[in-house]
């Protein structure tokens, strides 16, 4: 099998976010970067499939040379090849990213294209679907179980309140959700091996984005709670406050 896994470098989940002086993005100062946690499920699934069925896994990421440690992290898990799509920074518009990825993916003749279900930084959860559309491929998102029989793919995906079972034909685009598998740790040997794998750099002309970030801000600080009284007597006041102040009922 020939599998591609698209990965993204994101700030560590323990990062305490700060806003950049421009006010339009998060500050990158002192940020520890990691492989997007959902992408780890994608890489793991691809590796397991290749271990069972043969083939190879190619890791693809878009960004400046600074994202290479993240690509190496995926290689250290066991992927065989890597491509970095040159870009000065991560485009604010997911469509720009999706078009660039699609451009590279269509040259690879992949049986399966994996993504994490979303990146934990901007949380768009759009790129996998957009890539599938651009490549005119079937797509299953938020996948927690995956089986292959011949050319046929059966997946389970999480939906509101339950699970949905789908069958797709290959090639297909899959976005991985937590629970799909247990991602392996990078071994020291894996890291040493990964170091020897060249990361191919490709140039793609990036489309101009149609989405612009005007401002980012922190959610308002949580206000302290209020005790309005005790017992049934307090109910009318509680209802009034919920209606008039909190405006939730």
């Amino acid at each position: 099998m020939n599998i591609a896994v698209c990965v993204k470098q994101v700030p560590d989940t323990e990062t305490r976010p700060k806003i950049d002086p421009s006010g339009k993005k998060m500050s990158e100062e002192g940020v520890k970067w990691i492989l997007n946690p959902y992408d780890e499920f994608a890489v793991e699934e691809a590796l397991q499939l290749v271990e069972k069925n043969g083939g190879e896994v190619t890791v693809i990421s878009l960004g400046p040379a600074a994202v290479e440690p993240t690509i190496r992290a995926a290689l250290a898990m066991g992927a065989q090849k890597a491509i970095r799509i040159e870009a000065e920074e991560n485009p604010a518009d997911p469509l720009v990213t999706a078009k660039a990825l699609a451009e590279v993916l269509k040259q690879g003749n992949y049986d399966l294209i994996f993504f994490g279900k979303q990146a934990i930084d901007d949380d768009y959860a759009q790129v996998p679907q957009m890539v599938a559309t651009a490549l005119d491929l079937p797509c299953a998102t938020v996948v927690v179980k995956l089986d292959i029989e011949g050319e046929k793919l059966t997946v389970e995906r999480e939906i509101e309140g339950g699970k949905e079972k789908l069958s797709l034909s290959m090639p297909a685009v899959i976005s991985a959700q937590k629970g799909l598998n247990e991602p392996r740790y990078r071994s020291l040997k894996g890291i040493m091996k990964a170091k020897k794998i060249p990361i191919e750099t490709v140039q793609v002309e990036l489309a101009s984005g149609q989405l612009e970030i005007e401002k980012v801000k922190f959610p308002p600080e949580k206000q302290p709670g209020k005790i309005v009284g005790k017992g049934a007597d307090a109910v009318p006041e509680l209802v009034r406050l919920l209606h008039e102040e909190a405006k939730v009922i």
Binding site: R16, E29, G30, P69, R72, A73, A76, Y185, R186, S187, L188, K189, I191, M192, K195
Partner: protein
Amino acid sequence: MLTGGNFTVTPISERKVYCIEEMTEEQKEFAIATEDFATEELLPHKDDIEQFNGELTKELIRKCGELGLLGVDVPEEYDGLDLGKFISALVVEKITYGQSASFTVTFSAHTGIGTLPIVYFGNEEQKRRYLPGLASGEILSAYALTEPGAGTDALAIRTSAELSPDGKYYILNGNKQFISNGGWADLLITFAKIDGEKLTCFLVDPKAEGVVRKEEKNKLGLHGSSTCNIILENVKVPVENVLGEVGKGAEIAFNTLDIGRFKLGAAVLGGSKNTILLSLDYALQRKQFGQVIAYFDAIKKKFAEMVVRTYALESIVYQTAGLLDESIKKVDKSASDYYQQVAHSIEKYAIECSICKVYGSEALDRSADEGLQIFGGYGFIEDYPLARIMRDTRVDRIYEGTNEINRQIILGYLLKKTLLEELPIRERIKEIPGVLEGKLPEFSAPVLAEEQRAAEIAKYLFLYVYNQALTEFGQDILNRQQIGEVLSDMIIQLFVLDTTLTRIRQTIDQVAKPKIVEAIGKVLTAETVQQMGGAAELVLNGILSGKALESALQEVRKLAGMMYLRTDVFTLKNQIADYLYEQRKYPF
């Protein structure tokens, strides 16, 4: 000058150190991979491990094996990775992020004293038989040297080995004590005397007839690690299980200990970082007098000092690691006695290894104590994390050679290097009169110039006192243990100061917050030189008297006066603490 102890004589301006800021991408990845494993796979189990769960611990050791964490020091041809001491220190440090000192001990006893003797002294057959299993974690190892009558005095062991009449095996009899991993081990690396005198190392199968593991010891700390006595009763050990040469056991015992000491430094470094993290979590939540306690000036001082100590420890551990790698790299790989030469190239840095152990264990001890103090009454309660840290670290000052014997080793090796003129100590001593007249090169370093100058004068101050002690006592100084310990402390302080300041000078352009790193250097230097000045005077009082004492004191005070700084450590400690609070964990 490629030998240990040269920090006492080499001008600080010419020094260069190994440090984590200058790690390669690959080294950084090793660190991250180990840290991820420790925080995701070990940390959730820390309380289960503490319940003395051998099955779980062995399972986790095997997982370490799968990732290659047990094979860092094992040659590639025996399924190891042969990555050197820098990585091996990194791995031990990051393993401690699992916050189980018990697991760290099991891990270290296995990978250090439980594996290295075979790496360095095993023959081809022994290496092939044991190393792959040790690297994978299939075989758990224990090192059994100590006996009831032979602790610090390791050579006094009484376990005997007698060759059988057919010459096929040795018969071992004796009592081994306090053996880490003893209850769980699949292999014992032990020592016995043949004919009552030839100290020899043996590889013993604990399942062999006559090996009796006694009950687990009820320890003050490290409740999740195995420590027991092992009785050897007419145990038949095949002659091919002699490790190294008959009668050369001491070489194995001592060389292994050097590495053990340096690695203990790495472990307590991780422990120090944990201590900061856990104490800070509490201090940033706890309110008294309507204020978060972390912001009280007295608490800031405690955290700032923890950071300074930890930074200094980090500096010496990775410098020592780099020196060991550099020294080992110089050995010809094709030499037939390659691994013995490696062991000797490690011994060159016995001083640095012992300093890592002494300074590190005392740094963590101090931080744990202060951390517990920050918790107040809760610190004394076992439901809060500091009580365990405090209990667990107490043994760090005892095992791998007590801090007392290590202080002797530090001074003893420097003495040897002085007498054999491995270090140009006498030439430097001759420069002292000039220094007293103010002949010291100006420092034009872009950062911490005054501090480096002070560290340079501190070397002369030490050499002055050392020279007086040698003149008075000669080699008998080693028996004047009280004075010897003060001198050892000064040697430790020189290494810490020299290495930390050089690290800062070298990396100041690469760090995120140069001002804070600078503040660390300033606080460390100001406080250290002040202590050294006081110590120098006390030592002189113990060596000299009358006029000789008065004139020596005058000279020492002159040197000290040149060395003392005008640093406002209080303001700097505030800055260091504020930065720590912003980062919420040890920030370098």
